[in-house]
Symmetry: C2
Subunit: 316 residues, 2 copies
């Protein structure tokens, strides 16, 4: 479900490195060359490029990119070039340091990645920041948000498909009870959402709908100004239908006055190799405009070109 286009004949890593080095040399930077290489290599290839580049030129490729590029284009190239676990660690750290109750990046990383991927991100966090992710999240958040976010980022959910239907019924009832009492941050709601496997949560939420008529997220919309409810709904969506969650992030990023480049860049860079194809389809269905056209309309220059390359736009 990746949108990335890797050419059938990929140049050698050494050649890619040489071309990149050339793109940085002399006056000005050859952005098109950078896009034509990095925008068309998968994670394993990019990792190798970074390694060989450092060995050959004695400089981290990310440092070189940082010196040569600017603004949104720089950010998308840097995020994209990072190894996925390292990228998640980086985004999570950023989200933690400038955390506000409306910031859903931590939920996104904790819930849309596989349990194993989340662990790898936590490992990368240790290596890069000499601290643990949960330690920073616990330190920078408070109240109900802390109560939800710390177990979310600490979870190592079971990833099998087995489902306990009896449990699903009991916990659907329990969720409904607590939501009816507006006890949104009570221990049980948090426990179910932060520890059960995704398959189990999906079964529980299906039961919820069967038994009580509404999607749980509809019932979690009681107070549209309550940011804790927003984050609970994001948690549910990230766990059971990540592609819909990401479609909405893109929709809000594009459809507002002045594009939200931060969100746009993040979604494209983190999902291109995962499920961006499905997200694109969702986007088209929901907005009656293909995602590439919407992006082309809202962005310009090298930033636009890099985004289009990553979302698999034919001409990019």
């Amino acid at each position: 479900m990746s949108t990335l286009c890797v050419p059938s004949q990929v140049p050698s890593v050494a050649e890619d490195c040489e071309q990149l080095h050339k793109a940085f040399s002399g006056w000005g930077t050859n952005e098109d060359l950078i896009i034509s290489i990095l925008g068309h290599r998968n994670a394993t290839q990019r990792k190798l490029i970074r390694q060989v580049y450092a060995e050959t030129y004695g400089e981290d490729l990310l440092k070189a990119l940082d010196k040569e590029l600017t603004n949104d284009f720089e950010r998308v190239v840097l995020l994209w070039t990072l190894d996925p676990p390292e990228r998640d660690a980086y985004l999570a750290n950023e989200a933690t340091k400038k955390w506000t109750s409306s910031n859903q990046v931590l939920v996104e990383i904790a819930c849309t990645r596989s349990p194993k991927e989340l662990l790898l991100a936590r490992e990368a966090y240790h290596a890069r920041f000499k601290k643990s992710l949960e330690e920073d999240v616990a330190y920078h958040t408070s109240g109900d948000f802390r109560k939800l976010l710390v177990p979310l980022v600490s979870s190592y959910r079971y990833s099998g498909d087995e489902v306990n239907l009896t449990l699903a019924k009991t916990e659907a009832k329990l969720l409904h009870e607590k939501i009816s009492e507006k006890a949104y941050s009570c221990d049980d709601v948090i426990r179910i959402l932060t520890t059960r496997s995704k398959a189990q949560i999906n079964a529980t939420l299906n039961q919820y709908k069967n038994e009580f008529g509404n999607d749980i997220n509809k019932d979690l919309k009681a107070d549209p100004k309550d940011e804790f409810l927003d984050i609970l709904r994001a948690t549910v969506k990230c766990l059971v239908c990540p592609e819909k969650y990401f479609e909405k992030v893109l929709r809000l990023a594009i459809n507002r006055r002045g594009t939200d480049e931060g969100a746009l860049t993040r979604v494209v860079a983190t999902r291109a190799e995962v499920d961006l194809k499905i997200i694109k389809d969702e986007y088209h269905k929901r907005n009656s405009v293909p995602l590439d056209r919407a992006i082309a309309k809202d962005t310009t220059g090298d930033y636009e070109k890099m985004l289009l390359a990553l979302i698999g736009h034919e001409e990019a």
Copy 2:
């Protein structure tokens, strides 16, 4: 710091398996033979034995042992034979299912293992129980105990030695403040104990002592009947001086009317390959009796022989 004695010339794995199989054959069981093999092989060797045994005889060695052995001897041999992460998963599951507020096994597993070992135990828990450890802990506990135990078993602490002294001072003060207010289960106390690295916690508790005169565990003794305080003190001990924690578990297991075989078996089986040598020294210092003599006095038969073999008693 292991007490295990592995002979310098170890028979081939096939030979070990054949001998074990022989020990189970015919009328009665040759317990001495079992002890002479399993009581003198390290984790890697035992894992191989289990693997080759299953391939050769079409039966899991643990099943065979389970059929042949009984009572305390069975339990120590089974626990010992399990691969360490699987053993931790098994013990944690047992502790969760029959959890009571005085049960400290979860704290022990969460805090005396390295962060990486705890992760491996969580992985083994998935494989064996088709659920996550934190999910079971959250489900079977409640109140303050849940508030402490879930993040403890979910933690993946940073394991580097770096220490932030400014932070240690701030958090020592914060801990002292909360403990003075008897707010033992407040968010900050839990956050510090469940997320900071062991090195950082050690620095914080040193600051605590320097600044406020007492060991934190002394201040956590305000109410000797409060089981939450017991578990907080166990958490602190397991994090900063596991060998003292285990010495006390052994002391209490041995010095009571009727030995606590459960605790004795668990400590010997889980620590023999880790730090039982240090624990033995602590025990001798604290009780003026060598551990092997104390064990020999309190136990009998094959159980005694197996324990003595694992704690490195010369004649075993």
